[in-house]
Symmetry: C2
């Protein structure tokens, strides 16, 4: 233990410093496969406390890992060098809601769903909302550049952040960005913090762009006997100029998993496409739905169900909604791991990508599904494997590498939504080979002592299986 | 002359190197008030040539100023340290248009209007389009984070860029960003290049997000006897959840200028608000227009004219469209200068800001107008002054400082659209005081020899009047 617990208690109060084994264990993992114990957990309540903690850590060269809900799936909040885990969930005030300026200001620990509940009476919402919005914090979402099912229309976190206050590695508090929809005031440093995964600074306040809430939604589902027909539908919907608010693909593995565990009676087809439009006026939503429906029919889509009714929409969506949970129960003994879980490929490659994922899974003795937010290029997959078997980790590692080789060959990128951190760093470093030096130069310039979430992203170990402790009881 | 002309001719060919006085003079200024002669102008045609030029310049520590159309209004392309001006207009190929992936790839010298003409047959457009789109290049727009009248709905350049290829100061070519609507693959380095004004790298290719073209537009104008009523209308339109595709304010100075020079017979009122909605379906456009019209009427807006017809819309918009030109002819002997010309303030402060600008102008013996894209917080103004009189530059300098003091007091920012470069750097450095060290650290990390557009932004001189040569014949 190289940290002065009394010093930290002096900053945040005794009740906000935890160093007993039970707490350290909880803060040693997130929603990824990785695990590492911190030396101590601190829970600041103000930006001044954050500054004091960072100044102390920088002077003593102690790692600091900022943490929101710990819902990251790639190991963002796992303190692989030990040090301080800084839990920001107590900084959870919504500071201002200003619909007349189309913005709100929040502390980093505000939970996404809580924010959107508070915005609803104003007829506004904050759109990036990932699937984990019940627990995910705004600070974590920004650090990860999170997004969700409606990103095809509303974009990702980077498209809805206007500015932020950030504590840098030297303890300085900087105000980045602005309070306006547009700004051309030099370096867009707030955009640099988005997606930097806690390695460049600690977000202590954010100014967010609000979007008017749509009043009407219509959701539809179409079945396809051929994955390729579903893929053609997706390409054609995008190039038609239609603007779906959601455009989802589910492959047969996903359909089977849902049917096995949830008994929803989805058709046993190669692919299901879900498409949704939203707006303020029914005619506008009708217009988009009609184009998308006709395109699906032209490509042999059948069994098309469509509804404006909230309950019906929930029913139509329930298979997709519960897919992640269903996958964990797909087969006794197989765990659902978030490895190679959210690559992005150009929209027109979604079906081909799904096909490739199946081939690669089969070749490597694991089960993989393919589903995702086709409209924004996000392909989700999971590797279902027996995590107690050492050879299965090797299988998974090979499958991951092959999947990413394919993704890069079609101009795709490592992560659409879940970030890089540890799990995806080895592949990602290949994708970004030519800009790693640029990233390292920026990291070094802003955090010369390498205290902020060290050994993530460009500095992560090259082999996540051997270099980090896994949360599973692996048998030799 | 510290540059090896023969070396440069060897890289780009003799016809693409210019060092005669006439050419140097042309490349010594842009649309700003500043002027400085380069040593030489080079016009590369490929990214490999850009790399070679930069490698040479970096080895010899020669300044390189990348230049698009030279339409920047703050001095971006003025080579205040001399050196090489790199004219990128010959790199003007549209490389790919992929509507099925909602993107296109272009070289930096492609002109905005040319790109949008090429996209039209696909039913798509690239939305950031500034007023200078007839000449402005995509590379320049990215370097400046440009935007235009429809930014309230479609955002700025930063919202429509997916990725780019950039030549760094050491000559390395890096691929930043991705080919997909969302990505969470670590540092968003493409977003860092947006708005960096040529100081961090030379953009040699860009991947742009396309947006479906609306099919229907409706434009309306409303007159207000009180500026404050116009301001209330703007706030209420934004907070109503209406989504205008344009929301413009014109103050009485602007109206008078237009009436004096164009004889359009605009009503002699304190303010005119223009509001537009667009969409694919008439009912949706009607819906937005009805809300906005009612809000204007509630705040004593009168003389409301509204049209879906293209010709009629052109007529309604003509006063606003020709305003910039009209201002230059406002009064014999007064030139229209782009100083303090495009601040952004929160939407709800637009009317107050316009009022303040008038007070400040009067107090400082200059004429200032206030108009702008209220919907996105962009306030345009110009300083009309006699540029031959030295004391008028002092008047202008005082007025600029006072305007920005006000802008910052309401949480605004220095530039909405035109960038910082030289003209706005002194004020902007006050606004960004707490993050200048962060900017300088990044600049130094990426360009240690300070060759890329040196002495702009955080390194610009503190007094643009004395530190740079002005394009006007100033009498002592």
């Amino acid at each position: 233990m190289k940290v002065d617990i009394e010093k930290l208690k002096g900053i945040v109060g005794e009740e906000n410093v935890k160093d007993n084994v039970a707490d350290l264990y909880i803060y040693g993992s997130d929603a990824s496969v990785h695990e590492a114990l911190p030396w101590v957990v601190v829970r600041p309540k103000t930006k001044e406390q954050v500054q004091e903690i960072i100044r102390y850590a920088n002077a003593e060269v102690i790692p600091v890992v900022p943490r929101g809900a710990g819902s990251g799936m790639s190991g963002h909040a796992v303190p692989i060098d030990g040090g301080i885990v800084m839990d920001l969930k107590q900084m959870n005030r919504i500071l201002e809601i200003r619909p007349q300026d189309m913005l709100c200001k929040v502390e980093p620990g505000v939970v996404d769903d809580d924010l959107n509940r508070a915005l609803k009476p104003y007829g506004m919402f904050y759109p990036p909302t990932p699937a984990s919005s019940k627990i995910a914090t705004i600070g974590g979402e920004i650090a990860n550049n999170a997004s969700g099912v409606r990103s095809v229309k509303y974009g990702a976190t980077r498209d809805s952040v206007l500015g932020m206050k950030v504590v840098l590695a030297n303890g300085d508090l900087v105000n980045l960005g602005s309070n306006t929809r547009v700004e051309a005031s030099g370096y867009q440093l707030d955009r640099l913090i988005v997606g930097s995964e806690g390695t460049l600074g600690v977000i202590v306040e954010a100014t967010l762009l609000l979007t008017p809430l749509p009043k009407i939604r219509c959701l539809a589902t179409a079945s396809f006997n051929k994955l390729e027909d579903a893929g053609e539908s997706i390409s054609d919907i995008i190039s038609s100029g239609a603007l779906p608010s959601m455009l989802e693909l589910m492959d047969n593995v996903a359909i089977t998993a849902v049917n096995k565990t949830l008994n929803l009676g989805l058709p046993d087809v190669e692919a299901i496409v879900l498409f949704e439009a939203d707006g303020k006026v029914k005619e506008a939503v009708d217009y988009e739905m009609k184009i998308m429906k006709e395109i699906c029919e032209r490509h042999n889509g059948f069994g098309i169900e469509m509804s404006y009714d909230a309950k019906e929409r929930t029913r139509i969506y329930s298979g997709r909604k519960k897919l992640f949970a269903a996958l964990s129960r797909y087969k006794e003994g197989l765990s659902c791991t978030s490895l190679a879980d959210d690559m992005a490929v150009p929209n027109s490659k979604m079906a081909e990508c799904a096909r490739k994922i199946h081939e690669i899974a089969e070749r490597n003795n694991v089960v993989m599904t393919a589903y995702g937010h086709c409209g924004s290029g996000c392909m989700h997959t999971k590797i279902l494997m027996d995590p107690t078997k050492k050879e299965q980790w090797e299988d998974a590692k090979r499958a991951v590498a092959e999947v990413y080789d394919y993704v890069y060959s079609v101009g795709g990128t490592t992560s659409a939504e879940h970030g890089i951190a540890l799990s995806k760093a080895p592949s990602w470093k290949k994708e970004k080979a030519d800009s790693l030096a640029m990233m390292r130069a920026i990291k070094k310039a802003l955090d010369p002592n390498n205290i902020l979430n060290p050994h993530k992203l460009q500095d992560a170990p090259d082999d996540w299986v051997t270099a980090t402790r896994l949360r599973y009881p692996v048998r030799a």
